[in-house]
Amino acid sequence: MAEFLSLHDAVARYVEDGTTVCMEGFTHLIPFAAGHEVIRQGRRDLTLIRMTPDLVYDQLIGAGCVKKLIFSWGGNPGVGSLHRLRDAVEKGWPQRVEILEHSHAAMACAFEAGAAGLPLAVLRGYVGSDLPKVNDQIKFIECPFTGERLAAVPSIRPDVSLVHAQKADRQGNVLVEGIVGVQKEAVLAARRSIVTVEEIVDDLDVEPNACVLPGWAISAIAVAEKGAYPSYAHGYYDRDNRFYKEWDAIARDRDAFTAWLDDNVHNAGGQS
């Protein structure tokens, strides 16, 4: 049953050094507030899972929280590189980050399989790609009915998933609306989950087939207004594409990054 906690307390309870953490949100509803709280609490040696690392993981990597990254596309979408990710992979600053990479299709299927409680996902994928040569978790199986060779990847089962959503009701049921990405799967595949929301409401007031996460499938809910910024929350605020472009210059330079991190995360207090 979802407990209502402050973001500080939720992160302190569920994210420890060495935890395997998944923060999802496909461009939309990226849990920046939660990611910043993890940085503020100084967590180390995290294994981070995410299809599209985006700025939030660039920040966590640059802040030295991360030991390993499992991902399928690590860029600043429409802008260019994630410079903190590159600096860690190419130069080992502030520390070397081990990477394990997949394709989007494989990760999406692995999230689906994790939510479905299965140990593996099967897909028609990785045909002719070199990725299986550098990722020993990609295997191939033969269909017992047709003989077709299909790719298999282990399902994703994070220790804890952190996602952001529009709103929760007072029983802790959560509405995710718009580009829903793999958030439902990330929450259901994880042993524990923290959902940050823009607001708590009396009634979710939704259509029968809306994407609703029941409170009994969530560990903790924390209010984090503008908790996805500079990503966005459909119906609440837009993506700050200007900041995404500005990030390129900030992240390119270690000192500029460190200063930004101090000003905007370490000394920003959070929303506890």
């Binding site: 496909f26 461009t27 939309h28 299809m51 599209t52 991902f71 399928s72 596309w73 690590g74 860029g75 979408p77 429409g78 802008v79 590189s81 994630l82 990710l85 590159r86 992979v89 190419e90 990479e101 997949h102 394709s103 989007h104 299709a105 494989a106 999406a108 299927c109 999230f111 689906e112 897909l123 028609r124 994928g125 990785y126 045909v127 002719g128 790609s129 070199d130 990725l131 550098v134 077709e148 718009g178 580009i179 829903v180 990405g181 793999v182 439902k184 799967e185 994407c211 966005y232 459909h234 837009d238 993506r239 700050d240 594409n241 200007r242 900041f243 995404y244 472009k245």
Partner: protein
């Protein structure tokens, strides 16, 4: 039709013309997205655009910066989860054309978006595969668009992130349930198609004012030219007007966000 235009505009207009009304197109971000939306706003209003963020049949007013900007969802017929997108819509066989960009491409149309150099000690780490590996094999066919240069057009890619026709041109032979693969590559200099036999890229059309020499100088292998080499038709005034308005609206929108 003597309107002036840039080589980038020539590329985008030519790429847009590759799409036909009624096609379902899985759209990569950047140049493919620009071309696909230009097609939708000009000759192919019924082209169905699909983005990997889960937005089906989307009609954005401005170009998205990312693959999941709000415009895509707001203007879509419906938005599905990302697992559903890759499982039901792409792997399920509902995509006619995958429209991709790339960082590196080789003579057999293999794409590299993973890294330059050695995997375990990269010179340049690129973003990675994203949706491309399965778009390239599960879509009916693949269009590729990127700027022409010796850095991007290499004899052999450093890493095959995404299958074109493999290291030897035979990578799709005998593979069941696989799409036709790349059928055209559109650059700022020319249009290329794979040779029907060898699968090696052949220039089939030069853009106005571009010479064979220009293409050779910008290609990292001995590029071949079709016997019946064509000249790419110029952009029309309407295409240019629509493209410029789209880009201007886009720039204004993305700069104005705060």
């Amino acid at each position: 039709m003597s309107t002036e235009y840039t080589s980038s505009e020539m590329m985008t207009v030519t790429a847009a013309r590759a799409l036909e009304n009624g096609m379902t197109c899985f759209v990569g971000i950047g140049l493919p997205s620009e071309a696909a939306n230009l097609a939708r706003l000009t000759h192919a209003p019924g082209v169905v655009l699909i983005y990997e963020s889960g937005t089906l049949q989307t009609r954005p007013d401005v170009l998205p910066l990312s693959i999941g900007d709000g415009e895509l969802c707001e203007s879509a017929l419906t938005t599905v989860s990302v697992p559903e997108m890759f499982r039901y819509w792409l792997q399920g066989g509902h995509v006619d054309v995958g429209f991709l960009g790339t960082a590196q491409i080789d003579r057999y149309c293999n794409l590299n978006t993973t890294l330059i150099g050695d995997y375990h000690d990269p010179k340049v780490r690129l973003p990675g595969g994203g949706g491309a590996p399965e778009i390239a094999t599960n879509a009916g066919e693949v269009f590729i668009t990127l700027k022409h240069s010796k850095r991007t057009f290499v004899k052999d890619v450093d890493f095959v992130t995404t299958l074109g026709f493999g290291r030897d041109g035979k990578g799709r032979d005998g593979v069941p349930n696989i799409g036709r693969g790349p059928t055209r590559v559109i650059t700022d200099l020319c249009v290329m198609k794979p040779d029907p036999e060898t699968r090696e890229l052949v220039v089939v059309s030069l853009h106005p004012g571009v010479t064979r020499e220009d293409v050779r100088d910008a290609t990292g292998w001995e590029i071949r030219f079709a016997e019946a080499l064509e000249s790419t038709p110029e952009p029309s005034a309407r295409e240019l007007a629509v493209l410029r308005e789209l880009k201007e609206k886009t720039n204004r929108k993305h700069a104005g966000d705060a």
